[in-house]
Symmetry: C2
Subunit: 416 residues, 2 copies
């Protein structure tokens, strides 16, 4: 045991989302809390997102100058990375002003190396040497989330919600005690409280359930949950400004004992559907559609292929609304020779029921479809996993669908 | 002679200021001109400043989060560098959209290495390897002005107007044919036309004269002129949007023949004055005041020391208004023990007459003082060089002073 500089203090990684750092007053308020927390002895690494709607404003400018074309992904990445640089430098200044030494680090400076998939790069490696050096100097490190550097020295971004990934990856690389995600909701709920007034907060939830609930009010990034599960990083989701208990996402064994049949209703908006009509039904045709999308870094979610009629079939798949136009363009090019038509609809959403208890129990799908049908919600597509059933529906039906399911699975009464 | 890739085309470096790229429409309009210009066969490197008043907005945010303290220079540099990153990526997107391949490069990616003087770093070296590589691929390189990278991998900025320095330094490093500075005025005038309605545009001007006229409507950065003179880079100052002849700044021998007695009246606003009152008049005392300022990267301009009275003297010096508070704080610390008082005034300006013909002719100073006195302009400080006489006056007197001098030296009638 020694008390000299060789001693390592526990590392906590915190992440603050865009709405938490939306203006100077909020940044200053958070900075004071962070500074106070540092006085308790923890080594703090703080990951920040871009302020408020600044990312949306940058995307809008990119569209304006691109005259109808999709902005180049490489340029868009450097452009968007500036939002987090602004937030991280302002936060470092505010923490210093609140009384604790702090230093901002870009993704590059924080040692985050990625592949070259602009727009949704994957972290390849984190060199924590500089972070460790700054922490040893007693500084709070404020890291610009969402970004990294590719081997060709070009800036990359990790996709929307990428700051969560940055935080969890840094927590894993630094062997942190835990990762704390601060946001404008105070935890994970049985449904988005803005949609379902009777939704209740969960005290804890397993990685696998959370992974299925891409968006439950807390808008956690699935990649970050996956990463947390792999490296066993406990994540606390809590309110930035209210001092109330949050929800702990972890993989502890006691999670098995509190298993519920259906834990929550998840909603994902901004879903777009692309249908390739009357495509020839022969081997290789599906890869001909999807390989170019993968190469363009577009994530395809649900894929449905109808039964073949006279050697022709319809292939329908969903992408995020943000990728809709790019996907439609690309798919039309790809399918010009092999399909009759490519059509799309960007006004969709996904509503899901999630729960580890579902995997051995029957009847959940039937109950779900019945509840939606009783509420006059039309189901456009269906997809399932072991612990989830998802229906794609019209975006306009999201609210009544979520409430109907929350009641049907008796989540209003769940004891948390 | 060969037409293969070994052929080198002439390189032109262009620079567009903040008002030229203030919004998406302006960026798109410039992008079309740049794309057209590239079709004429030149290899183009385009340096851009931050959009419109975005730098001011970033500084304002930094102040807000710093709670009355000066924001840390290291953090401020990374923060401000984002303004040029935004402009450069949007410009690259717009040029691509206009039909010519383009790539944005940050200061770091453009190979610009600097010392570590945050806020006013000096370029130490430029590695043009990547620029050359991109140009050989037929791409227009859009470089984020105003910024570089220090050896410790921290982002630095070159000070206000630093994008001019970036442009001229790149022109020198690339052995460019010339550097074109596009701005919201269409050349260098005998005085700022916004102050002096009878001001006339000059077709050409020498480096030495231009160097003295830090701000003549074109707001050229003196460091960039100095750099251009050393590397003999001709600079064209011209209008971004109007297609009219600009002013060529160069060192050609014919400049000697068109030498005028007084070429122009220069005005520099945003001057601040610091007076150290009743300081002990002994050797070493002046360096005790100025060494800490130099170490803090603060440029001191005019220095005046009054005659000693009873072993005490007053030392007055000017700094830019932007450095005023920092300088006042620092000087008060430095002089706490050795002077009676430190006072300051940030509401000043400099008005100068400039001309290579002045160096051998008498009477220019007398004419200048007489003209100012006749207009009831009080002179606070006086400083001269071989080809310039400068008076520090109240900011509020700038307009009448400039007009009085423009008339007194018959610049209204100059034939350009």
């Amino acid at each position: 045991m020694s008390t000299n500089s060789g001693e390592t203090r526990p590392v906590i990684v915190q992440k603050y989302g865009g709405s938490s750092v939306a203006d100077a007053a909020k940044i200053s308020a958070i900075a004071r809390k962070i500074s106070d927390r540092a006085e308790t002895g923890a080594s703090l690494v703080v990951v920040v997102s871009a302020m408020g709607d600044s990312t949306d404003r940058l995307i809008e400018m990119a569209r304006e100058v691109s005259g109808g074309r999709s902005p180049e992904a490489r340029e868009l990445d450097t452009l968007l990375s500036t939002g987090e640089l602004v937030a991280s430098t302002l936060m470092a200044m505010a923490i210093s002003s609140a009384g604790h030494p702090a230093v901002s680090l870009s993704g590059q400076q924080a040692g985050i190396r990625t592949d070259t998939t602009h727009g949704s790069a994957r972290i390849a490696d984190i060199d924590v040497a500089r972070l460790r050096r700054e922490l040893e100097l007693g500084r709070i490190c404020v890291v610009a989330g969402f970004q990294g550097l590719a081997d060709n020295e070009d800036v990359t971004t990790l996709g929307r919600g990428g700051s969560d990934t940055t935080a969890v990856a840094l927590a894993a690389a630094l062997d942190a005690e835990r990762c704390e995600i601060y946001t404008d909701v105070d935890g994970i709920y049985t449904a988005d409280p803005r949609l379902v007034p009777s939704a209740r907060k969960l005290a804890e939830i397993g990685y696998d359930e959370m992974l299925e609930m891409a968006s439950l009010g807390a808008k956690m990034n699935p990649r970050s949950i996956e990463l947390a599960a792999v490296y066993d990083v406990p994540i606390l989701v809590a309110s930035t400004f209210e001092d109330v208990p949050g929800t702990l996402i972890h993989g502890g064994p006691h999670m098995m004992e509190v298993r519920r049949a259906v834990t929550a209703v998840a909603v994902e908006r901004d879903v777009a559907k692309i249908t390739v009509r009357a495509v020839e039904d022969r081997p290789g045709i599906v890869s001909q559609i999807f390989v170019p999308l993968a190469e363009a870094g577009i994530s395809v979610d649900v894929i449905v292929q109808n039964a073949s009629l006279e050697g022709l079939t319809d292939v329908t798949f969903t992408v995020s609304k943000a990728d809709f136009e790019r996907t439609l363009d690309l798919t039309r090019q790809t399918c010009a020779e092999i399909a009759q038509d490519v059509v799309g609809n960007a006004g969709l959403a996904k509503v899901s029921i999630v729960g580890t208890g579902m995997q051995n129990g029957p009847g959940y799908a039937a109950t779900m479809f019945d509840a939606l049908s009783s509420s006059n919600v039309n189901i456009e597509m269906i997809t399932t996993s072991e612990i989830r059933i998802t229906c794609v529906i019209a975006s306009s039906s999201v609210k009544k669908a979520a409430n109907a399911l929350h009641s049907a699975f008796e989540l209003d009464a769940v004891d948390v």
